[in-house]
Symmetry: D2
Subunit: 283 residues, 4 copies
């Protein structure tokens, strides 16, 4: 079933919802989901609205043009998506592969609505996995010296493969500011702690040293500031004094996969709106 999805944000005022729903009704669209939220602190209006294209009187390519005057009137930021036009996702990964495996298996079971044409890694472990799943593998060795040139090659292949979205499935390298800008709110990372606690490297070791009784995982959009981007999803699992560092890693793996795949799925289903350093996740 093909649907259209509008993600909207603008300064709150009277009549926005009426105007948007009228627009859809006017062309005989049937609204499948509609959810709105007003951030009362900043007085910003957020909306996600999805309607069936079956019987919709406007052809897909004409929707934007017809919607534009309304958007202009309310000074909207908005994006239009079609559920039938799936995103093209690239996965970056380093040595640890459980998150990569998880995305690939969920993709295979048709639980992630996307295409996965490309895996990029600075290690060789993922090569065999990419082959097993018939996905192009691009090896991109990186060090502080070659980072800029390595990223240039990465961007070239990302463009060639028409990648819309990047999932960092436990990727150990930090991107340059330019790279992050090029894929603004289109890179999702999984960090193995409940951010903002234990940002940076070795979060399980940090958690073990601090003696916490719960460990967490956080999936967030990547911004220029390390592990400080808008949080999409978090979850936790209990640990005790009996758990050694290795146990934390073991317990954390299941958590990382679950949190990461939820965030990726929501992004692919256009359920996330970023504002400031926060996210609205329409469920």
């Amino acid at each position: 079933m093909d649907t259209a999805i509008l993600l909207i944000s603008c300064r709150d005022q009277k009549g926005i919802t009426a105007a948007v729903t009228n627009f859809i009704y006017q062309y005989q669209g049937n609204i499948e989901h509609a959810d709105q939220h007003i951030d009362s602190q900043s007085n910003v209006f957020f909306m996600r609205i999805e309607w069936s294209l079956k019987g919709f009187a406007l052809a897909k390519p004409k929707i934007i043009a017809k919607f534009a005057p309304l958007a202009k009137k309310f000074k909207m930021d908005y994006s239009l998506y079609f559920s039938a036009e799936t995103s093209r996702m690239a996965i970056f990964v380093s040595e640890v592969t459980h998150c990569l495996y998880d995305l690939l298996l969920k993709f295979k079971e048709k639980q992630l609505f996307c295409q996965i044409p490309l895996i990029i890694s600075n290690h060789s472990q993922a090569k065999k996995i990419a082959e097993d799943f018939n996905i192009k593998f691009f090896f991109s060795q990186k060090n502080p010296q070659n980072k800029l040139s390595a990223e240039k090659k990465e961007i070239a292949i990302l463009r060639k493969e028409k990648i819309d979205f990047i999932a960092l499935a436990r990727y150990g390298q930090i991107f340059t500011r330019q790279f992050v800008k090029a894929y603004h709110t289109r890179i999702i990372n999984i960090h193995h702690s409940f951010l903002p606690a234990f940002a940076g490297s070795n979060p399980y070791r940090q958690a073990y040293s601090r003696g916490v009784k719960i460990i967490g995982a956080t999936s967030h959009y990547v911004t220029e500031k390390l592990d400080a981007g808008p949080i999409i999803e978090q979850d936790i699992v209990r640990v005790s004094h009996r758990d050694c560092l290795e146990d934390l890693r073991f317990k954390g793996q299941d958590l990382e996969r679950t949190v990461f795949s939820r965030a990726v799925r929501w992004h692919l289903e256009h359920k996330i709106l970023v504002y400031g350093n926060k996210t609205v996740v329409f469920d």
Copy 2:
């Protein structure tokens, strides 16, 4: 701040959301929250919409009359509430008083938007608590023989106190069919298990005997069938072989309070729609 809240359900068709939001916009209402849901199995449309009455061009008593034609057109079931007009809640309780205490403390801290004019009990433990909180206490002893006459007296005092809503804060008695009908979807119970497991009496003992590794609590609307009404909220806590029956009770208490007060709060804020034997809980 005074707002109007509409809870709507009807067969899904095109234009419902547009019609409702237009209605509000036409009288200069500003929508604060709007959420809808379509149950795709039964093709039923659900909506909760809340708008500010500040500057709304219709006086409160006239809203229903003006909305009626629209409701008729779409064959809506609907209810209209005003946030400034708080419900009048009665609490029934037996010997165990932690859930009663919790509602009263949360009420005192202005976290429950209601009035609490009445506590009814078949035990005397709650009398002192009612006095401490300046609430009328009605002692209603019950046994299989006097149940009908006892309920008659209870209904009389409930009517006298203009009670809209009944919270069963660990109340050990089962109501008759007539009583339940009189307060259809207006009685919320807390059951100390993750229903449908361990319905009926002594759920902690049942859980202990079965050797479960998690125990739960469930808050639901009361229907004629014991512990089988529409579920509003559930939560759980982990237990282990080290926990004896008494430990289950101790751990469960915190759970019961949390689950129960959430359900009561959502009801008081008109966030729940019942359909069939399920609930839509708009958050």
Copy 3:
């Protein structure tokens, strides 16, 4: 590092712990872990004790003989395991393969201390997976008519492969009483509900129909009574009215993997004692 593990249960009386720890100390063993539990209802003593074999003055094959008099004195049920002697696990699976994949990946990452020489299935989906992981695949079609003869063949290959332990990774067939007896407390199942709720077939559909707000997964030893054996581990995830049946399946998958792999891991590490229809899980 090689350790010895004793799992003990017997009627409680004075001096058991002293006798066992003295036995170990007498031969210069260093206790790594010791945990005991007394079920006060039944007055039964449970113990798990693990000691390093480095410098232990008794050779492995002689430990049982030397321990026997002590065990006899206290009328102990006991089992002795060596951490270096890993179990041989067979996995049974039907069409749904995420739990199978999860065990295999965790095995590959050295998080499950066992050997996996055999996968048995009544469907063909797992064949390719078995090949990818270099594991023998045995196809065993089953129907009510051929069940006994099919199980005979299964038992023959289980014996040939010296299987100690069977993991049912979403296996849709019910074993006969004889089969279950032959592998008493050596078959672990994953059931996709929080048992005892929603036993039997289609638990997600049952949960969806009941309108629960949490769904669960339960890992338990298989007994003659369907889904009623001793529970090892359970966990849950929240759902809402927005989740359709398919969403429940998606959310439940991560849960099933996590709960199942925990139970399997604990069994392989000899951390579980079964008594009556319950488990003691030493952590």
Copy 4:
């Protein structure tokens, strides 16, 4: 039932458990619970052992003297408690009283094994509550200027009331180094975040600003460094973009009570051993 409880820590070596259990058996003690843990990083042995005093051949006052040689041999740090000799707990509280209420109600329901002779506050809200529960109330106004003299008076009354243990039930003041030293590992605080995230003031505001998807509460022993002492217990609850700051406070309250009362209970039952900046919590 009266029991003796030994909490032991020392450098790990062979024979500790055997020696301790022999000591108890030699005087005909029946061990009710025994749990040990070895921190493999630091090679430190921890033990909690509890035995019935019914039929124990040593009188209570003589146990220490008889145990001393064994303790010396293994260079143990140890403490001996008797379950029948309950601790005397003082509660410090500021304006927010839900954690205070919770301890008092649980005390009243005999779920906290202690005496509560004293409540100290820098605000007047708790005065009426103290009276309702028949507990002495001491008002102690504090500001940076009078802190030392105020604490002097507090310590005087704590000593007069023979207080063993202090529970900070949302107490907004920071103690001096001297005060903390005087009650080393005998002050438990509840902090309303998942430490180490959001230490310091206004943790809910910090969490709201960061846009986290879970909020937490942490109970820990108070040390000189603010919100940095050994963590005893933590738990979390999910939040979403729909939750405003006030909602975080509401959701957090139930969490704070639960986490705090668990930590206090475990302390009162002598289940916690502190080492370095961590805790072993025997369950």
